[in-house]
C-alpha cells in the first residue's frame, strides 16, 4: 500500500494502482482518451501526462504505478502545456464537424479542449480525408473514421472483453483508420459498449443517432430488466423536447458501473430492449369488457368492478399468475393481497418462454426476468406452477384469473391448455403495461407502469437487491403495479395505506427473513446481497459513479 503525494495531497492506494486512479480518489481528474479502467493499458493518446518529481520527463498517468513516496504534479505549467500540445495534435486532422456530430455535448475532444486546450489553431495544411464517414459497421454501430482519435479502446474491448476481434486499426501514420476486419461486421452481443467507451464521435449508436441532442437528456439510475443479471444502467430520458425523437421519452440506456454485477458493460439485448416503454401498444387506460368489446373506463369503475368480482368468488376459485418483471415491493404486495389477505392458494409467477434465453459466460443469463430470485425469496409460487393453475382453470375450477404482464398466448406453455383455461374462466383480470393477445381475452384490464416509470427494487440471480428509479411518469393513466395493488386492496377494504415503495420495502425487510437488515439506504446505488449483516460501522452508501463514459 504505497503512500504518495499528488498535487500536495497525500493518498494511500493499493499496490499497482496507477496515477490516474490514485488521483481520482482525491477528486483530481487527469484527462485521458485511451485509458479505460476496464481495459488493458495502451498508453498511446499521451493526454494523461503528469510531472513526477525527479523523473527526467513527463510520465503517462495510465502506465505509471504509484510507488512509496512518489510526488506527482498534475497541474504544473509543463503538464498544462503538454496537454495543450497533445490536443493540438489530436485536433489537427479532426474534421471539426461538431454541428452535425451526434457526439457533440458528450465529446471528450470538446470537453478537454474547453478545459485544457483553448489555443488558436495554427494548422493550415490540408487535412487527411479518410474513407468511411457515417458508415454502418454492424447492426448497432456507425463509424466515422475522420473523427476517430485512434485511442483503440473499441479494439481492445473486442479483443479483451468479448474476444470477438472484429475491429482493427489499419494503415500507418495519420492515414491510419479504424475499421472492421474485411468481411466482418461488428455484431457481437455487446457491440453497443464500443459507443460508450468511444471518447469522440467516431462510433455512434444507430438507435440513438440524431434522435435528440444529449444536453436535453435527463439521467436516472436504474437496473436493466432484460435478464436476471440486473446490470446497472442509467436511463437517459428526454422530457424537455418531446417533439424530438418521434416522441420517444426514453432515449437510450447506458451501463452504469457496478463492480459486483456488470463492471462497465451491458449487452445489446438489454441496451436496446427498452422500446416497449414508449411503444404504440402501451395500454394507457383501464378497460372493462362491455359485451364483446373492451372499453375504456376510469380507475374507479375498473377497481370497483375488480373488487366486486373478487369478492363474489371463493378464494380457492382464484388463480393468480404474478410476474417476475414486478419489483420485490410489488411481489410482496401480491402475496399480501392474494395470499395473506384473501387466503388464495394458487399463485404462480413463472411462465416458460418460447425460445431459449441464450445465456453466456459473461453477463447474459437465460432467465429473461430481473426478479425471479426476488419472487422466490418472497415466497412465490404458492402451491402450484402456472401449468397447474391453467390445468385447474381448464377444468373449470377457477372463476377468476388475475394475470400480471404475461402473454400466455405467445409463451412456451401448451397453447390448447391456455386457450381452454381462458375460455373456461368467468373473469380474467389482466394487469400489465403493453397490449398483446392475452390482453384481448381479458374482462378487466389494469394498465401498469414499466420499469422506467416506477421505483422499487429487483433481486438478481445472485441475490443482489438493487434499486430502480422512476425516470419518466407512467404513460397515460397507467400506474405502478404497487399503486394498483394498493388501490385494489383499499377497494377490498383491507385497510392498506402504503405511502411509497420505501414504506413497502421496510415492511418487506421486517417480514421476509432473506431481506432482513436491508433498507433503501443500505442498498445505495450498488445494491446489497440478501442475508445482509450490518456491521458495527455506520453504513456509508457508495459514492455515485458520476461519469458515464470514462
Amino acid at each position: 500500500m504505497p503512500t504518495l503525494t499528488i498535487d500536495g495531497q497525500q493518498v494511500t492506494v493499493p499496490e499497482k494502482t496507477n496515477v490516474i486512479e490514485a488521483a481520482k480518489t482525491l477528486g483530481i481528474e487527469i484527462p485521458h482518451y485511451c485509458y479505460h479502467p476496464g481495459l488493458s493499458v495502451a498508453g498511446n493518446c499521451r493526454m494523461c501526462m503528469v510531472e513526477i518529481e525527479k523523473a527526467p520527463k513527463l510520465a503517462i498517468g495510465c502506465f505509471t504505478p504509484c510507488t512509496e513516496g512518489m510526488v506527482v504534479f498534475t497541474n504544473t505549467e509543463k503538464v498544462k502545456q503538454a496537454r495543450k500540445d497533445v490536443l493540438e495534435f489530436l485536433l489537427s486532422n479532426h474534421p471539426l464537424d461538431c454541428p452535425v456530430c451526434d457526439q457533440a455535448g458528450e465529446c471528450w475532444l470538446q470537453i478537454y479542449y474547453m478545459q485544457h486546450g483553448q489555443y488558436e489553431s495554427r494548422m493550415m495544411e490540408n487535412k487527411i480525408k479518410k474513407s468511411k464517414k457515417a458508415t454502418s459497421i454492424g447492426p448497432h454501430v456507425n463509424l466515422d473514421q475522420e473523427r476517430c482519435v485512434l485511442c483503440g479502446r473499441c479494439v481492445r474491448f473486442c479483443d479483451e472483453i468479448t474476444k470477438t476481434h472484429e475491429l482493427g486499426i489499419f494503415g500507418r501514420g495519420n492515414r491510419e483508420e479504424l475499421d472492421v476486419f474485411p468481411g466482418k461486421q461488428l455484431d457481437n452481443r455487446y457491440s453497443g459498449n464500443v459507443v460508450d467507451i468511444c471518447p469522440v464521435g467516431a462510433l455512434t449508436d444507430r438507435d440513438f443517432r440524431f434522435q435528440v441532442r444529449v444536453w436535453y437528456l435527463g439521467v436516472q439510475d436504474s437496473v436493466c430488466p432484460g435478464c436476471s443479471r440486473g446490470c446497472n444502467i442509467q436511463i437517459h430520458y428526454n422530457r424537455n423536447r418531446p417533439h424530438h425523437g418521434h416522441g420517444r421519452r426514453v432515449a437510450r440506456l447506458k451501463p452504469r458501473y457496478n463492480s459486483h454485477v456488470n463492471q462497465f458493460w451491458m449487452c445489446d439485448e438489454g441496451r436496446y430492449g427498452y422500446k416497449f416503454v414508449d411503444a404504440g401498444d402501451r395500454i394507457i387506460s383501464p378497460m372493462l369488457r362491455r359485451g364483446a368489446e373492451l372499453q375504456m373506463a376510469t380507475w374507479g369503475e375498473t377497481l370497483a368492478a375488480s373488487a366486486e368480482r373478487i369478492r363474489a368468488v371463493n378464494p380457492s376459485q382464484i388463480g393468480v399468475i404474478a410476474w417476475p418483471q414486478l419489483t420485490n415491493e410489488e411481489l410482496y404486495l401480491v402475496r399480501r393481497l392474494f395470499v395473506d389477505g384473501l387466503g388464495c392458494k394458487n399463485v404462480s409467477f413463472s411462465v416458460p418462454s418460447k425460445k431459449d434465453g441464450g445465456g453466456d459466460d459473461f453477463l447474459i443469463t437465460a432467465d429473461k426476468n430481473p426478479n425471479t430470485r426476488g419472487a422466490g425469496e418472497i415466497g412465490l409460487p404458492i402451491a402450484d406452477s402456472t401449468g397447474d393453475i391453467l390445468q385447474a382453470a381448464s377444468r373449470g375450477e377457477f372463476k377468476l384469473l388475475h394475470i400480471f404482464g404475461h402473454d400466455l398466448l405467445s409463451s412456451g406453455l401448451d397453447q390448447p391448455l391456455v386457450e381452454s383455461a381462458l375460455a373456461a374462466t368467468e373473469t380474467v383480470i389482466f394487469q400489465g403495461s403493453n397490449s398483446h393477445l392475452t390482453v384481448d381475452r381479458a374482462d378487466i384490464v389494469l394498465p401498469s407502469a414499466t420499469f422506467a416509470e416506477k421505483s422499487g427494487s429487483f433481486t438478481n440471480f445472485e441475490g443482489r437487491v438493487q434499486r430502480i428509479h422512476e425516470a419518466v411518469p407512467p404513460l397515460g393513466d397507467a400506474l405502478p403495479d404497487w399503486q394498483i395493488l394498493n388501490r385494489m386492496a383499499r377497494a377490498l377494504e383491507m385497510g392498506w395505506d402504503y405511502q411509497g415503495t420505501e414504506h413497502i420495502f421496510k415492511e418487506l425487510a421486517e417480514n421476509v427473513a432473506a431481506f432482513s437488515g436491508l433498507s433503501y439506504c443500505v442498498l445505495g446505488d450498488q445494491g446489497e446481497l440478501l442475508g445482509y449483516k450490518p456491521t458495527n460501522e455506520a453504513h456509508i452508501p457508495t459514492e455515485p459513479v458520476t461519469t458515464v463514459i470514462i
Binding site: 502506465f63 489537427s92 501514420g173
Partner: protein
Amino acid sequence: MPEKILTKHFDVPGFRELGVYRQHGGYAAVEKALGMEPAAIQDEIKRANLVGLGGAGFPAGVKWGFVPQNTPKPKYLVVNGDEGEPATFKDRYLLEYAPHQLIEGMIICSYVVGIHKAYVYVRGEYVKQINILRHAVEEAKAENLLGENILGSGFHLDVVVHQGAGAYICGEETGLIESLEGKKGWPRIKPPFFPAAIGLFQCPTVINNVETLSHVPHIVNNGAEWFASLGTEKNGGTRVFAVSGHVRKPGIYELPIGTPLREIIYEHAGGVRDDRPVKAVIPGGSSSPVLTADQLDTNMDFISLRNAGTMGGSGGVVVMDDTTCMVDICANISNFYAHESCGQCTPCREGTSWASKILNRILEGAGRMEDIDEAIRICRNMMGRTVCLLADGAAMPILSYLTKFRREFEYHVENSECDVKKSH
C-alpha cells in the same frame, strides 16, 4: 589498412557456402564455445566491450545478462535484420556474404543464455539475402551445427528465418516482436525497457542486430582484449560503416569503431566527388542529427558522436557536398518519417506528417517565415512523448537541419527558390 573482422573474407569466392567458410576457420568458435562455461563466454563478451550495432550502442553482454536464468518459460533469440534505417546497408552485405558468421554468433549467444529457438527477422525487400540465409541454415542443419545435439554437445538450437513485410517500425525491437508474433508492428509500451524478461510470446528474449552477433565468434576465437583494443575505451571492435552520398567510392567500410569521420570520407571512401567541399554529413542513418563541415574530426564511436550532439545510430554515413539543398534533404527525411510513423501515439502520428507538410510547403516556395518556428515547435512537442523512439528519431534530424541551416530555409521562404540550386 586497419584490421577487418566481419568483412575480412568477403573477397573469397563462395565464402557464403559452409565448406568454404569452414576452410577459413568457420565454426571453430562454436566448437570452442561448446566446451566452455556459458558464464565465461558472457564475461568475455562483456570485457570485449561489444555494443549493439543496430543503433543503440548498448553493451551486448550486459543485455544478455538481463535474461532471467531460473524461468520455466522457453527463452528466445531474435536477430534484428530489418535494417530499415535510410542510408544503412551493412546487414545486407553481412547476410549476403557471411551468413554462417551470423549463424555461428547465434549458436554461441543461444548457448550462453540457454536458448533453443532463434528467429532471424529480415527486411522484406532482402529477398536474395533471405534465400542465402535459409540455404545456410539448411547447410548448418545438415552438418549438425544446428538442430539436436549440436556437435555432440547435447545443446540444441532451431533457427527460423522470417521475412518482414516492409515497415520501418518493425526494426524497433518491440515492434519487431509484435510483428513476429503475427500482429501489427506497434511497439510495446515501456517499461519493460528491454524484452529480456517479457519478449517474444511473452517469454524471455535476447534481441540483437545482425552485425552485433556476427562479431561474437571472433571474440570467442581471439579473446576480449584483442577485440576491445581495436575500438575505443567503451566501444570495442570494428564497425561496418555504410557510406553513401557524394563520395567517390560509396560502399561498406569496416573500420575501428572510433575512426574519425574525416578519415572515413577521405582515406576510405575516396573523398568527395569533383573535390567539392563537404557541406554536411549524416553520421548514423537518417535519424541522427546532421553534422556540419566543421565537425569532420568527430570520432565515429557512440560516445564521441553523442558528445557531438548526434548519434552513432546504424552506421549509415551520408556525405553531402555544397550543391545539396538542406531544405530538400530535410523535407525528404520528414516525408519518410511521416510515411513510416506507425500511428500508435498521437504526437508522432500527427506531428511527423504535420511537420512534413510544412517543410514541403517551404520547399515548394509557399512557406511563411513563421513556418520555420512552427516546424521546430511541432518537432519539440513530439519528442519524449511516445511509446518508442521513432518520434525522437524524426524530430532530432529535422531540428538539426532547421537550426544548423536556418538561413537556407529563410531564403526559400523569402525568395520562393533555392539559392543552393541557383548557384550550382
